[in-house]
Every structure is written in structure tokens, then in C-alpha cells.
Amino acid sequence: MRRWLLAGTVVVVALGAIGLGLLPTTEDGFRSTAVTSARDTRSAVLSTREVGAAALRGRVLQSYVNIAVQRARDQVSTAITDLVDTEVPGPSSQRLRDEVLPMLTRSAARINDVATASSTEDRDALSRAVDELSGLAGELGGVR
């Protein structure tokens, strides 16, 4: 008897969870996804900026730079996927998406620049990439 009760509860909870997942996204839900994506990307951007700045001062091993940049890039691509996969419920969400998505793709590109510049020991490119990352972090911080 107890077992059936337990099994029944599990099924109800599971169905409930699936049902919640199938509900259409609201404007608020979309905004929260966008803000989270921007926040995670900003975190990756700033982290990479620190790595780049340290590389400029010759403080990090190249193997480390490669891995740190790769990890940051993975984070940004997860953020992009999250945003792209979320259904757009209305016009204001569409505007938000058009505002945030390009920032995310630019972030991914600039993060990549750090790895390239560091491996080719191109100091100018590296310092440019670091500056651009600072700018991007500011923009991303403005997403609310």
C-alpha cells in the first residue's frame, strides 16, 4: 500500500515538472533568461580579461591561457544556446533578444582573440582584446 502511494506521488510530481516545462515562456521568464545569460557572459569576459592582462605582464603559462580561454568560451556558448533556445513570447522580448544576443557573440569572438594573440605573442592585439573585453563587460552589465 505504502509503495503504491510512493509511486503515485513520484508520478504526480514528475508529470507536474514536465507540465511546468511545457508552459509557454512569459515576458518575465524571457527577461530572466536574458539577464542570466548576460551575467554569465560578463563573468566569463571579465575572467578572460584578467587572464589576458596577466598574459600581457608575462605572468601566465601559455597552456593555462589556452585552457582558461576555452573554458570561458564554453561558458559563453552555453549562455548563447540558452538564450537562443528560449521561445520569444512577445515584441519586448524580441527587442531584448536583439540587444543581448550580439553582445554575447561579440564576447565569444573577443575571448577567442585573447587566445590567438597570446599564442602568437602579439602584444598589441592582446592589449586591444583586453580593452575590448572591458568595454563589453560594461555593456553586459547594463542588461537588466
Binding site: 571579465l46 575572467s47 587572464v51 605582464r57 601566465v60 603559462l61 593555462y64 585552457i67 573554458r71 552589465g141
Partner: protein, 409 residues
């Protein structure tokens, strides 16, 4: 003189052996998000592991019984089995996370993807468990783990606003932009990182295996009371560096390379190399301990012959459990689950599994038939009961906090 040397060596090993992937991750992540506002949890956790390990060491030395032996003996076969399943799973998750940590440390030094290193790291871990002598194993990795002192050096070099860090440490409140559930979740993670069950399984089993007697109690206590707090200081160093570099930027720590970044910024390439070595030693040493502990829990519950001092042939069931556990740990990593994620789950599991391993030890430490005149003093009991309450609260809160905060979101 020789004795002083042996004691010093033991303490140094305890310091280096204290920090593992759980401490590295939990401290760096909370440092970046909360500054030093959760530092008090590390202090509470370190005192807790001292209380617990001291009792286990005493019980092991006087009665000759390791932790999991007593778990079944006091709680009976059924509750003991529930406990075994919980503790084994917690240890298994930790083992997997540590192997992942070893692989990532090698990745940071070589740029070769960590998943390629996972099977190699696991194989080497197994070979060391299979071949290398207990004492040697403990010493090498404990001492190499000491290189994590570099976090403390880096913190000083970073010249952080000390007043601000101290201010955060003494006003443990939830900062703006974070909620109670997240604060609570990371408090649980930090506490579990300091008070991991496998550390105690390993410590007490090692004591039994090295045939500690009453005479060894002083040394065991010195190791615990000096080694663990200094190990906790390394943890706070990790937290402090993350608080200094990442908190002002609002960067969240999500991978092991970020944990090392403050040291690179402060100390350059050499510092970075030392950190990577420290990561390697700490996670490798902990992988050995968790691998053995996975075997200890099961073998001690069933009463099988276990241990490193007998020929593996004579402890076939024990060595099979160790081998299979390592293979499962590798399989978990090869599903490409993020090792940091596995670490966080392992901490939650550990928190939940802890009370039932702690309770029997507290009871046995009071049993004159087992300990004679070495039973708990009033102070030890006051502390022991206080920590039982804390451990229970943490265990009950762990899963709800994990769900509400979405693993700290």
C-alpha cells in the same frame, strides 16, 4: 630529535592532506560571491573535523576498531546498511571529483583536454594504491599538497583591503543581490568540504592499520589539532584570493583554472606552476584516500579483511571494491559531467550522510568497555553534542537548500 621530526612530518602531512577538490571549489566559489562573509563556516567546520577526528583517533588507538566497523556494531545491520549506501555514494562522488581534479591539473599544465587524462589519472591512482606503501603515499602527497600555501602568499602579495575582508568576516550577513537559500547552500558546501566523511574513514582506518596504541594518542592529537586548523588556513587563503580578485569584478568561479588565476596575477608563472602542482598533489592524494575509503566502508560493514598492509590476494574483496569504485568514478567523468558539478553534488551527499557516521563514534567514545579511562571528557562531550546538533541541522537543510537555490544558481 627523531621524534620531533616524525611529529613535524605528521603535522605537515595533515596540513597538505586537508585540502582537496571540495575545499578548493567551495572556498573559491564562495569567496568570489560572498567575500569573506562565509569564512566563519570554515572555522566551524575545522573545529568540527578536529572534534570528530580526535574521537576517531582515540577510538581507533584504544579499541582497535575503525569507524565503519562501529557504525554497524552500534546501529545494527539495517540502519548500518542505509548508512553504508549513503556514505559509499558520497565517497564515490568525491572519488570521481578528485580524479577529475587530477585530470584538470594536468590539463592546465599541458593544454591537453582533461577527459583524455581521466583514464590515465585513474590508472595511476589505482597503481599507487596497489603498489606504494601506505606511509610513503601519505607523506609524498601530503607534503606536495603543502605547496597550496602559495594561496596565502598570493593573498599577501595581492595586498587586499584587509580591513574590508575582516569587516566581511565579522559581519556574516547575506550581501545585496544574493538570497538566504544561496547563502545557506554555500554554507552547507563549505561545512561539508571541511568535514568530509572520507577523511575520517581514512584517518581511523589508517590508525587501525598502523596499529596505533595509547602511546600514539599524543601524536595523533597533535596532527589533528595543529594540522587541520593550518589546513583550514589554506582554505581561507583560497577564499581570500577569490574574494580579492573576483568579488569586486562580479566574476563567478566555475572552473579550477579560475581558482588559480589570483595566484598567477599575484606571483606570476612560478606561482602558477606551484598552484598547479598543489592542485595535482591535493586531488591525487585525496583520490587515493577516497579510493581506499570506498573499500573501507564496504569491507568494514561486512567484516571482510581489508587494508594495505596485507597482500592484495588476502583482501580480494576489499581490493575489488576499490578497483570497481575507481572504474565507476571514471565512468561518471566520461559522461562529460563537469567535475565541478560532481564536486558540488559530492559535498551535498557528504553533508547528508554525515550524522549516522558521527553518532556511533560519539557513543562509543563514551563507552568504558571500549575506551576504559580514555572516554570523552566533559569538554569533549559538550563539543561532541554541539557538533551532533550542527551536523544534523546541516544534513536536514542540505537537500532543500540545494533545490531552492538551484545548486547556488
Amino acid at each position: 630529535m627523531k621524534r620531533v621530526f616524525a611529529i613535524t612530518l605528521g603535522i605537515l602531512t595533515a596540513i597538505g592532506g586537508f585540502v582537496d577538490i571540495g575545499d578548493l571549489v567551495a572556498n573559491a566559489v564562495t569567496g568570489a560571491r560572498f567575500g569573506m562573509r562565509l569564512a566563519w563556516v570554515v572555522v566551524v567546520g575545522v573545529i568540527g573535523i578536529c572534534v570528530y577526528a580526535e574521537m576517531c583517533g582515540r577510538v581507533a588507538a584504544v579499541s582497535g576498531r575503525p569507524v565503519f566497523d562501529l557504525v554497524r556494531e552500534r546501529l545494527g545491520p539495517r540502519i548500518g546498511l542505509t548508512n553504508l549506501i549513503g556514505s559509499y555514494l558520497a565517497t564515490l562522488f568525491t572519488l570521481s571529483a578528485e580524479i577529475g581534479g587530477v585530470a584538470i591539473a594536468v590539463e592546465l599544465a599541458t593544454s591537453v583536454h582533461y577527459l583524455l587524462w581521466v583514464p590515465i589519472a585513474a590508472f595511476v591512482v589505482w597503481v599507487v594504491i596497489w603498489r606504494v606503501k601506505f606511509e610513503m603515499m601519505e607523506r609524498i602527497f601530503g607534503l606536495a599538497g603543502l605547496s597550496l600555501v602559495v594561496f596565502v602568499v598570493a593573498l599577501i602579495q595581492l595586498a587586499p583591503p584587509w580591513g574590508q575582508l575582516a569587516g566581511q568576516a565579522v559581519t556574516p550577513v547575506v550581501p545585496a543581490g544574493e538570497d538566504w537559500a544561496t547563502y545557506g547552500f554555500f554554507a552547507v558546501a563549505l561545512f561539508a568540504a571541511a568535514l568530509t566523511p572520507y577523511e575520517v574513514f581514512f584517518f581511523s582506518s589508517g590508525g587501525v592499520e598502523e596499529r596505533w596504541t595509547r602511546k600514539d594518542l599524543v601524536v595523533s592529537r597533535l596532527n589533528v589539532f595543529i594540522g587541520f586548523p593550518l589546513g583550514g588556513l589554506l582554505s581561507l587563503g583560497v577564499m581570500g584570493t577569490a574574494a580579492t580578485l573576483f568579488l569586486p569584478l562580479g566574476v563567478r568561479v566555475e572552473s579550477l583554472d579560475q581558482v588559480a588565476l589570483p595566484v598567477a596575477v599575484a606571483l606570476g608563472k612560478l606561482g602558477l606552476a606551484v598552484v598547479i602542482l598543489g592542485f595535482f598533489a591535493a586531488t591525487f592524494g585525496a583520490a587515493l584516500e577516497t579510493g581506499l575509503s570506498a573499500g573501507y566502508t564496504i569491507a568494514q560493514y561486512f567484516g571482510w579483511q581489508w587494508g594495505k598492509l596485507v597482500r592484495p590476494r588476502e583482501a580480494a574483496r576489499f581490493h575489488t571494491v576499490v578497483l570497481v569504485s575507481i572504474l565507476i568514478g571514471v565512468a561518471m567523468l566520461l559522461t562529460t559531467t563537469d567535475p565541478i558539478m560532481i564536486t558540488e553534488y559530492s559535498l551535498v551527499f557528504s553533508a547528508v550522510a554525515l550524522p549516522l557516521t558521527y553518532l556511533p563514534i560519539l557513543i562509543v567514545a563514551n563507552d568504558r568497555d571500549y575506551l576504559g579511562d580514555q572516554v570523552n571528557s566533559r569538554t569533549a562531550n559538550a563539543l561532541g553534542v554541539t557538533y551532533l546538533v550542527i551536523i544534523l541541522v546541516v544534513a536536514v537543510a542540505a537537500v532543500p537548500l540545494m533545490i531552492i537555490s538551484g545548486m547556488g544558481g
